[in-house]
Symmetry: C2
Subunit: 300 residues, 2 copies
């Protein structure tokens, strides 16, 4: 399981039933929440994303439509009896905002909570299965994109072969790292008899809110799934730049230049009830494009 569920796909003003930005990335039995606009807790319930599986939350920047749902979510997690750790990765100023909101009610979160300020590009977190990197994007205030890259054992064990050659299971880790097996009789079984090369690790890249910015390509290249904002259609390029946002054409260009496998676009302006134009314009440049529709789950 490596799949992304869209919880909110609109820009700052919720409209036509579309909510501000939030996404849930499920990797095996762990869920990463990416941004948390107002109403995210309701959207998690609506789309049946299990709260207890959310272990880490990543906030790209401190415009309200990307974090105003966070105080409510953290508070409700407490009311629901959460006891497991929660890690939050966000611009440093968010820590004081959350603390002040707790202070006015003399409350503390009733579960272990770890705040990790984002201050520079690079690896911000390694879990058993995923490495998360952050990179700067260009918006009106400090803003960070994220890549979620699968960590895979270098080689994959072929189960019928290891059985046939009677390889003990405590040798599996060495096999995965390329070592040959020597059996009880001293016969060498070459590693490639027992293992296959592992498939290429999959990557999800989230470009947050940004102007058109080719400088981020080194961070996101070859993503299996790329999310890039398209607040406006192509004809609004001037307005997009002025407001530190991107158009359909720009998102599609970034997808093409970064050699993404698939592009999803979102953060739609509330000016547009119908989204056909967004899909049409982006697909014309980068054919494997989809609209980031709420409730849709994109498997990598």
């Amino acid at each position: 399981m490596f799949a992304l569920t869209i919880l909110g796909c609109n820009s700052a003003i919720a409209a036509y039933g579309r909510n501000p930005t939030a996404q849930a990335l499920q990797v095996l039995d762990e869920t990463f929440l990416i941004d948390c606009g107002e109403g995210t807790q309701m959207q998690l319930a609506r789309y049946k994303v299990k709260w207890s599986k959310i272990s880490r939350i990543f906030i790209s920047h401190l415009h309200g439509d990307h974090y105003f749902g966070l105080p409510g979510l953290l508070s409700t997690m407490g009311l629901l009896g959460r006891s497991q750790d929660l890690h939050l990765y966000a611009p440093p100023e968010l820590e004081d905002i959350l603390q002040m909101q707790l202070d006015v009610t003399s409350a503390t979160l009733p579960y272990p909570f770890y705040f990790h300020p984002i201050t520079k590009p690079g690896v911000i977190c390694n879990t058993q299965h995923i490495q998360v990197n952050t990179f700067p994007v260009v918006h009106g205030i400090p803003c960070w994109g994220f890549t979620f890259k699968e960590i895979r054992n270098p080689r994959r064990i072929i189960s019928e072969r290891v059985k046939a050659y009677e390889v003990p299971s405590d040798f599996y880790s060495e096999l995965q790292h390329g070592k040959d097996f020597v059996n009880a009789k001293g016969t060498i079984i070459p590693n490639n008899e027992l293992t296959d090369a592992a498939p290429r690790p999959r990557t999800y890249a989230y470009c947050a809110d940004t102007i058109y910015n080719e400088a981020m390509i080194p961070y996101i290249q070859h993503a299996d799934l790329l999310y890039h904002e398209t607040t406006y259609p192509a004809e609004q390029a001037e307005l997009a730049a002025k407001r530190f946002h991107s158009t359909t054409n720009q998102a599609a260009n970034i997808a093409q230049l970064s050699k993404a496998k698939k592009l999803i676009i979102g953060h739609f302006s509330s000016r547009y009830e119908k989204l056909d134009i967004f899909l049409k314009e982006a697909s014309a440049i980068f054919p494997d494009t989809e609209l980031a529709m709420e409730g849709t789950c994109y498997a990598l």
Copy 2:
């Protein structure tokens, strides 16, 4: 027009499509927003309450389910081009929380915004048509109830009579205050020939989150519409008291003792999918009770 629209009727955890507390009280062409739980801006849009008419917002206390929707609402009002004044009445600490959230984006609200800290009971605002009083309720943290009382001219002019007696319009105000009219010939036309006694001013009383507390009765008596929370059914009286909340029976008792005309109950615990028991229990004591259902508009 003196009518209350329910925007959120659940307690802290949104559930079964029910949202945290928010209510919109429309008085002629002005709307007062009472509490502002997460998602209130979406609820305003859903139930077609005009944002531009919201002139004053009242926050009872700083538990998140009563104000986490406020930063988003204030911000969206700015994005929608609001230019008219907005007044906020709330516990003093809210001012710093809002300011900090603006500061991190180096933003200011692009419309005149006035913060009025609530620190003691009494009149907190007088508009042309309404006087708002606040009174303390008993909750885990400082918490305030509100009454919205119509201001009416003492007497109502009978239009066909003032025409018949040729009373000049600049004398209407004196007529409304009980004065007799003397015409050009010196004839005295008694005031009660020209006016009727005005109907009794209507009052809406909002009791916020509170334990059972008869001390608030002097503030709310004879309300045309009384809102009292019923987080729990009657059998949970102990839990209700422990969490500074009320039960159905307690809300109905307060309605009876305060001689309310009609009671609406809300702030339902997320434990309860069906709300029949709330209505059944409260109505058994105070028959004119209704559930505060979202989207329903109660005319006074």
